[in-house]
């Protein structure tokens, strides 16, 4: 069509094609639609823009978002993205492919998913990973459903009160309609209470338990004894993790968890206002056939060449329909590639050093903030890695406004009225000092 770059048909093409079909106009192709359903008005859209106008339009919108230096986490972390990653993920052979149904011409996608699964397994210590989920919270919700489906007639799941609020909310939404009862495990000194857990497990109706590895206060939870208690009650132990921290922290497998879930965003995916991110889910072998979503497996072709295919598909919606383990179809494949390239670049050494830098700088900020006299410690001595909370002694909104005016986003208010700060390796000592100076006024 003349003047529009995405429609290649010339008037002559259209005429010839209509001839072959045996109709005289494009409108005749809609003769099967009742006439009053054909929209006769003008669509309430703006005038078509040129590419240059579209670019200016978005440059203008983008300029209305002030660029802030991020000192907040709570489920979305401002880690550095190596330039190699977008370069690779923008390769159109990856970008413009569909789900790898035709494996003979999709070995690129299938291989990186296999590598992704392998990396998630080594980070979590689990046996099996799927090919990705939408995000961390939906992965958690699906894990809770998996627990109930596997948990023969038991209908309750336990959620720790120390889980991030957005995780709890999504699990609540899924549970409400699937018909899962939720109960909350109390908090003790900023951590999931073992006694609280024990008490709730006594009901005998618990199919699954969801606890964070690093919680909403930034505290690294000590889960000693949890697995035994949960397994004694014949429930599934699901751990919600920040995968970036798993390169140094005790793994879900070492804690005795059955399933590990979380958001891969911390593996170098830009904040991007909340998405696209990538949820991950991995589990012990015995739950392999209960996993939702795609799984890639290794096999051979007739010539003996190592080949990769979508496998164990009898779990999935296109085969099992309503009996599938989940309704998930499209997942976050390209973002799985994103974090796979990230982990390849970082390696075990880079992941370790990254966490050391986060650890050192966040502890530096913690101590500097205490010195301002404007905060009180909430959980003295509790171990944290890159994120922590403090009790503000001044108005939170005033504090936030002052930070915003100085170009910072931080002091996120928690449900308990504390403020949280997060320091990634992207935050320099100079930025930290400037943040503290701003707070000092």
């Amino acid at each position: 069509m003349a003047g529009f770059p995405y429609f290649p048909q010339t008037d002559e093409d259209i005429r010839l094609m209509l001839n072959r079909i045996g109709v005289s106009s494009l409108d005749d192709l809609y003769a099967d639609v009742p006439a009053d359903y054909i929209y006769k008005g003008e669509y309430d859209l703006q005038d078509a823009m040129t590419e240059q106008e579209v670019r200016s339009f978005f440059e203008d919108l983008a300029s209305r978002n002030p660029r802030l230096t991020v000192f907040a986490g709570s489920g979305a972390y401002d880690h550095y993205t190596p330039s190699v990653i977008p370069y690779i993920t923008q390769r159109s052979e990856f970008l413009t492919a569909y789900t790898p149904y035709q494996c003979e011409i999709s070995q690129g996608t299938l291989r990186y998913i296999f590598e992704y699964q392998s990396m998630i397994c080594t980070l979590t210590g689990m046996d099996v990973s799927n090919a990705s989920m939408y995000d961390g919270p939906t992965a958690a919700a699906e894990a809770m459903r998996m627990a109930v489906v596997s948990g023969r007639k038991k209908g309750t799941v336990l959620l720790s009160k120390t889980l991030l609020p957005h995780v709890r909310r999504v699990v609540e939404t899924y549970s409400r309609y699937y018909g899962i009862k939720t109960a909350y495990i109390e908090t003790l000194s900023g951590q999931t209470s073992a006694d609280g857990l024990k008490e709730l497990l006594c009901s005998g109706d618990v199919a699954g338990v969801l606890v964070p590895s690093v919680n909403r206060y930034g505290i690294i939870e000590n889960l000693t004894g949890f697995a035994d208690m949960i397994h004694e009650a014949k429930a599934m132990f699901v751990l919600y993790c920040d995968p970036s921290t798993l390169s140094v922290l005790r793994t879900p497998s070492e804690w005795g968890a059955d399933v590990a879930v979380g958001d891969g965003q911390s593996l170098g995916i830009p904040l991007c206002y909340g998405g696209p991110y990538v949820g991950f889910m991995s589990c012990r072998k015995e739950y392999m056939r209960k996993l939702p979503g795609r799984i890639v497996g290794q096999t051979k072709d007739a010539a003996g060449r190592r080949s990769f295919v979508l496998t164990l598909q009898a779990r999935e919606q296109h085969i099992r329909r309503e009996k599938a383990t989940s309704n998930i179809c499209s997942n976050e494949s390209l973002m799985a590639l994103w974090v796979t390239v990230y982990m390849s670049l970082m390696g075990p050494e880079g992941m370790k050093r990254l966490n050391d830098i986060c650890f050192e700088r966040s502890h530096y900020l913690y101590n500097e903030l205490l010195k301002t006299g404007k905060f009180r410690e909430v959980f003295p001595g509790a171990p944290f890695l890159k994120e922590f909370v403090m009790e503000p002694l001044t108005s939170v909104s005033g504090l936030q406004k002052r930070l915003y005016d100085a170009g910072f986003f931080g002091a996120l208010e928690t449900e308990d009225g504390y403020v949280s700060f997060c320091v990634t390796e992207k935050r320099t000592k100079e930025e930290i000092d400037r943040l503290v100076a701003t707070i000092n006024g």
């Binding site: 078509a48 919108l61 489920g75 179809c329 970082m346």
Partner: protein, 471 residues
């Protein structure tokens, strides 16, 4: 495409690095100071590779992949249209990528304008009132839409409506989403014309029915002509109508689901609105509702605000379309599908011969070459042979209404020459099948690998790399 056999783990050499981070100072405190019980016992087995190793490895992997930018991708129900490059640039603007999802709305006016603009545009195109953008894919949108339907009934105290009608031609995600939403599935049959059988529907409608999920045009690419009657019947029975937007492309600029009586719908921005599929996501499945369901729209089904990066791309596409071009999108998609159908129906069985919309379904070859102890060529064989000729295969063995389904969807971004090339190859393959189906049985011959042993993969699952194993 050439076969490349490495996995990134096999390039690993101890001590090699691909990262660039500040060195730790000698007096620094690190994670070793954490209590031992909180630390992992050994480092993860991630590869140790250089930056060039990474770049070359993934570049080699990409060359074993086929995308829309590689060639024609007539995958039915997937709407593999061209993904404009400007959209990628917009989604990667730092001022969008740097936004934290928990920032207060008053600090993100640019993002707010994107959501508001998209809401208005999608409402205009679909005839719905408002959209939520939190669902991250089509099936996620279905689930969200069904939750809204359930919430509507619950809010009225109408608690026994826990069953949902799904046509036998529906995408597999429909019944699966309904099950995840805690609904019982009631199947309605298709009639000989491939449409929902109104007579089969009537007796199913009682006061336990929450609603019906419809795909219109359906998965045979046929417009559900009786939609007015169906909408009346379902509404009279107290149910709601859900529109599966997977097949919205032919209706863009022509017909609005809201006008047909649908109460809830989702769109696949990665189908109808040109965002790239990324090898299986990220997608975006915004859900739109009619006015009376707006109070139930704000469901927390994902972590933050949905896949903002995908929404940005779709918005850019809609701005390019504008009111001047939107009217041609569906028409040209429909033109291409009918053109292919009419050009091949002498060689491939066409179970329903009426005008199709954006896609249509063949039921295998007219002459599959079988006879005298020879096995005929199947739909799988045709699909694999297409790969040899440089085309992606159509969707196969779906819908389940036929045994040899081949579902073809060309989209409006493909030229007549491209369609002619595809038609010619499909005719060649039909000729090969008639003369010697063995050529097809052995296909593909020119791809990086031949048909892999899927039974072996399922029987002996190797799902991760293990050093030293027979990988």
């Amino acid at each position: 495409m050439k076969y490349y056999d490495k996995l990134i783990f096999e390039l690993s050499r101890k001590g090699r690095t691909g990262f660039s981070l500040p060195a730790s100072s000698s007096d620094s405190i690190g994670t070793e100071t954490l209590p031992a019980v909180l630390r992992r016992s050994s480092a993860p087995a991630l590869p140790e590779v250089s930056e060039l190793d990474v770049v070359r490895h993934y570049t080699n992997l990409s060359q074993m992949n086929f995308g829309v930018d590689t060639g024609f991708y007539p995958l039915g129900s997937c709407t593999m249209k061209y993904n404009p490059k400007i959209n990628e640039e917009i989604a990667s603007m730092p001022a969008f990528q740097g936004l934290h999802p928990l920032q207060a709305e008053w600090t993100t006016p640019g993002a707010k304008a994107v959501y508001e603009g998209m809401d208005r545009a999608l409402a205009a195109i679909t005839g719905m009132k408002h959209f939520t953008f939190r669902p991250c894919a089509g099936a996620h949108g279905e689930l969200t839409g069904l939750m809204i339907i359930r919430e509507y009934h619950i809010s009225r105290g109408d608690l026994k409506r826990t069953r949902i009608i799904v046509p036998d031609s529906a995408h597999g995600t429909n019944p699966a989403s309904a099950a995840v939403c805690g609904l019982e599935i009631v199947e309605v049959k298709s009639n000989a014309d491939g449409l929902v059988d109104v007579n089969d529907l009537k007796p199913l409608l009682d006061d336990t029915i929450a609603g019906i999920m419809m795909t219109n045009p359906n998965t045979l690419g046929l417009f559900e002509k009786d939609i007015r009657r169906i909408a009346e019947l379902v509404h009279e029975a107290g149910g709601l109508l859900y529109y599966d937007g997977a097949n919205m492309n032919p209706l863009i600029g022509m017909v609005r689901p809201g006008d047909m009586g649908f109460d809830v719908m989702h769109l696949n921005l990665h189908k109808s609105f040109s965002t790239p599929h990324g090898g299986g996501g990220p997608g975006s499945g915004p859900v739109g509702v009619c006015a009376r369901l707006v109070p139930f729209l704000d469901l927390c089904v994902s972590g933050f605000h949905g896949n903002f990066g995908v929404i940005l791309r779709a918005y850019a596409y809609i701005l390019m379309l504008g009111k001047q071009n939107v009217g041609m999108c569906g028409k040209l998609a429909t033109l291409g599908a009918n053109y292919i159908k009419e050009s091949l129906k002498d060689l491939y069985k066409l179970p329903v011969s009426s005008i199709c919309k954006h896609e249509f379904v063949f039921d295998g070859l007219v002459n599959d070459g079988s006879g005298e102890g020879k096995e005929g060529a199947t739909t799988l064989d045709v699909a694999k042979r297409l790969l040899d000729y440089g085309y992606h295969a159509p969707t196969i063995y779906f819908p389940l209404l036929f045994h040899q389904s081949i579902m073809i969807e060309p989209t409006e971004t493909e030229s007549k020459e491209t369609l002619d090339g595809f038609i010619e190859v499909m005719r060649t393959i039909a000729g090969e099948a008639a003369a010697n189906p063995d050529i097809l049985h052995g296909a593909p011959h020119n791809t990086p690998i031949g048909r892999p042993d899927e039974t072996l993969a399922a029987r002996n699952p190797i799902l991760k790399y293990q050093d030293g194993c027979d990988c």
